[in-house]
Symmetry: C2
Subunit: 325 residues, 2 copies
């Protein structure tokens, strides 16, 4: 027979206070008839669009080191990764739901800081904290955020729609996010909206595991292959500035490329679209985040990485690129 | 500068496999155009109802002891508590989203068992697992479930609608859930549907912290008070059978009452409704779960507990009932 433990009264006094503070901080929202403070929140859904739900659990020591980054950035990241998921569906957030397991050792002000990181990013993207669950325990910090949102158009942009001949495009630049960008990145919601205004992407994903992994998700779901041009992959300055490599030798550039392909947590958009759409996109794109065409969707399956002199090697998820020079 | 850690590739191979297995287990659903396997799930929302979202995080050592109850019941509970929240809003579930942090020490079969607990309960209540996030780490098991659902009627039943003169009613019986019921309880979705078919409750909550706490949530949200009759409170056999007390002395009955009031995790419905509705409810109620009228909503504020001979004491959240005999 289990002994009585704190499980029967998980919502202790300080946590009620956190809920009250949250309720006062988060204002009213026309799309949310009922927010924080009841058994569940209530959302008003529009007809004619898909309602989207994303959820991610972030763990201290795995997805962030809270002793180094502080609770504010940990909370911010927990919402940001979910907003990135909604952007990758061609959507936007509507309401966020935050569950936290707080270490007993931390004061309430620490929890407030964490929630402020979520609240501020939610306010920035019109996706307020609308509910959640707070607990404290002897374990490390855990944050789970679930976001409910909606598509910008009648249907979401899925991973499964890529077609042979499509251009493969990424926003921004890749690699080296561990140097701080993985905590501070801007979810690509504006870029997704601009993309859908101009063009009709066939498939889209956000780069969380790394380009070499995430491209495979699109290819597998779509039943197609791809050729990626190594020289076209935009390498982030976080790689080149932190690598200690001058970039004078081809080995340096390969090391950079390996980071850009595999580091992950870039939270850039990776999408495919017809060539005609790509031309229109280049002509009409006004957003400051750059777009780069890095390859083409092919018949068949698997992804080939093509070097400068035309030689190609299979690109595997998380694989190191030491096969060509 | 943080060292590179597993955070940049949280979805390792075994976890992809778990997602694949989930995808194959969970069938298609007319209200879920897009389920597991993309950046987010997509739900088709009806007009004319409120969309509901509930989320709860359950922690090993706090909400369950997984070494004792096993992963199946831990997973089951994580969904059940959310379905209970939706029942308490006058709603039902539509899709569930499961995030887990798995201890590295556990084999994949253990994670499968956990997910099966969620899947089975989701299938029972037509609320399939539709997405989520899986991670493994050095910490204890963490499960977060977010459920998206909808109201059965145009508007949800909130905590804030109680009115003076309302009858206060509970489903089932209270106390002693720690002896196993907190893992195996049936969320009161059928009872909520039957209630709404017959009557128009003004306010409703599920009993998670304990009657003495949860009644206060209704009273505070509604700006009213209440009188609860001690003798009317239905004490669960889990209390009387496990207490080691014969019930011969009034002290025994007070000890039982204290359990019924404060143990929590009963996951019964607590609601208020006009007296006329209560009479109709008694006449037309066909569900096997019993209903008990335990008190009345009053003007003013605070909750009084009334003893057999008419004496009354303030009922405080989690307080022991040693004041009268």
């Amino acid at each position: 027979m289990p002994t009585r433990n704190s499980g029967l009264t998980p919502t202790t006094r300080p946590e009620f206070e956190l809920i009250e503070r949250l309720r006062s901080v988060v204002g009213s929202h026309p799309r949310i008839p009922l927010g924080i403070g009841d058994d569940a929140a209530a959302l008003a859904c529009d007809g004619g669009r898909e309602t989207l739900v994303a959820t991610d659990m972030l763990l201290d020591g795995v997805h962030f080191l809270v002793d180094e980054c502080g609770p504010y950035l940990a909370g911010r990241k927990a919402l940001a990764v979910n907003l990135s998921d909604l952007a990758a569906m061609g959507g936007r957030g509507l309401a966020s739901f935050v569950s936290i397991a707080l270490p007993h050792s931390q004061p309430m002000s620490w929890a407030d800081e964490l929630m402020q990181g979520v609240i501020d990013l939610g306010a920035e993207w019109n996706c307020p904290v609308t509910g959640g669950d707070t607990n404290s325990w002897n374990g490390p910090l855990v944050i789970n955020v679930a976001v409910v949102g909606e598509t910008l158009q009648p249907q979401s942009i899925r991973r499964s729609g890529a077609k042979p001949g499509d251009a493969i495009v990424v926003t921004g630049a890749l690699g080296g996010s561990i140097h701080g960008r993985h905590l501070r990145f801007t979810p690509r919601l504006e870029e997704a909206a601009e993309l859908l205004r101009i063009a009709s992407p066939h498939a889209m994903i956000d780069i969380s595991d790394g380009l070499s992994s995430d491209i495979q998700h699109i290819l597998a779901a779509s039943g197609v292959g791809a050729r990626i041009e190594a020289a076209a992959i935009p390498v982030h300055p976080d790689v080149t500035l932190h690598s200690g490599l001058a970039g004078l030798h081809s080995e340096d550039r390969q090391a950079w490329l390996t980071h850009a392909l595999n580091d992950g947590e870039d939270f850039e958009l990776l999408f495919t679209l017809p060539l005609g759409d790509w031309e229109r996109l280049q002509a009409e794109w006004r957003h400051p985040t750059p777009l780069t065409r890095i390859g083409v969707v092919t018949e068949g399956q698997g992804c080939m990485l093509v070097g400068n002199s035309g030689e190609s090697v299979p690109l595997t998820a998380g694989g190191y690129v030491h096969q060509f020079g």
